[in-house]
Symmetry: C2
């Protein structure tokens, strides 16, 4: 068992309310080969799942400090402070790590659409076995959010 | 732009109800170097996010056919039919692909706990900047689910 997993295994049976230093947990996260972990963003009140993106340790630390969600853009290879070009920021309500320490769940308050297409959520292709269907239309024209720019 | 992304870009402005052959969408998914895509499982009625795991194309196709969620276990390098050793199956209610085709959201009906620790959800470490807290206790003893075995 990797030593990082040993910490998560040890915590499995700990009682609710048990505290651990966050830096100790972050040391134990099995960051992938690019130093990243996937982060799911969920609207805190409606519980709609909005998007998934990636964070490195610095992006996660900044997010926990500032309560504004900062990802790592894999395509642009730089910090992606959600809403920096569109204004559609994500205010962090709470951050959660899973049992094995390899996925984050962020409860956020999303201002405007989360998706670069102008939709609230990125998950608008419903898949059935033979045919798939687009389920939502944009709430706003993405041109009004970015002009010719893209937020990711 | 990779040709796979071109399909998703072309569909961004399509109206709700627009149909695409699912195999065409699956051809365009930017599977990672291991042929996988992350899949978020969300309880369909409570909207609680339960877990995240990975699927290859065969696992996704089987899931869409059988409406029982099948992942690909990275640690065991084989299909992981959720609940095969624990009975805690996930019945698929609907499957959704995101705007760039690189993440799945599965709405499921989870029988019993999703987490191998016996908790409903895997996301039980709440992260604050300096200290983190375990937020839930197991609903059932994992020994009763698996004996000495693990479901992943």
């Amino acid at each position: 068992m990797p030593s990082s997993l040993a910490l998560f295994r040890a915590l499995e049976k700990s009682a609710p309310g048990t505290k651990t230093t966050t830096d100790t947990l972050l040391d134990a996260i099995p960051w992938n080969d690019d130093g990243l972990i996937p982060a799911i963003a969920q609207q805190f009140d409606s519980r709609e799942v909005l998007m998934m993106a990636w964070m490195n340790r610095d992006a996660l630390t900044e997010t926990l400090e500032k309560h504004r969600v900062c990802y790592w853009s894999r395509s642009r290879q730089r910090f992606w402070r959600k809403g920096e070009s569109s204004g559609q920021v994500q205010v962090l309500k709470s951050a959660h790590l899973d049992c094995d320490g390899d996925t984050l769940l962020l409860l956020v308050d999303q201002l405007g659409p989360a998706c670069h297409t102008g939709r609230k959520s990125c998950f608008y292709h419903q898949l059935d076995r033979t045919e798939s269907t687009i389920t939502t239309a944009p709430d706003v024209d993405p041109e009004t959010l970015y002009g010719q720019r893209k937020d990711r």
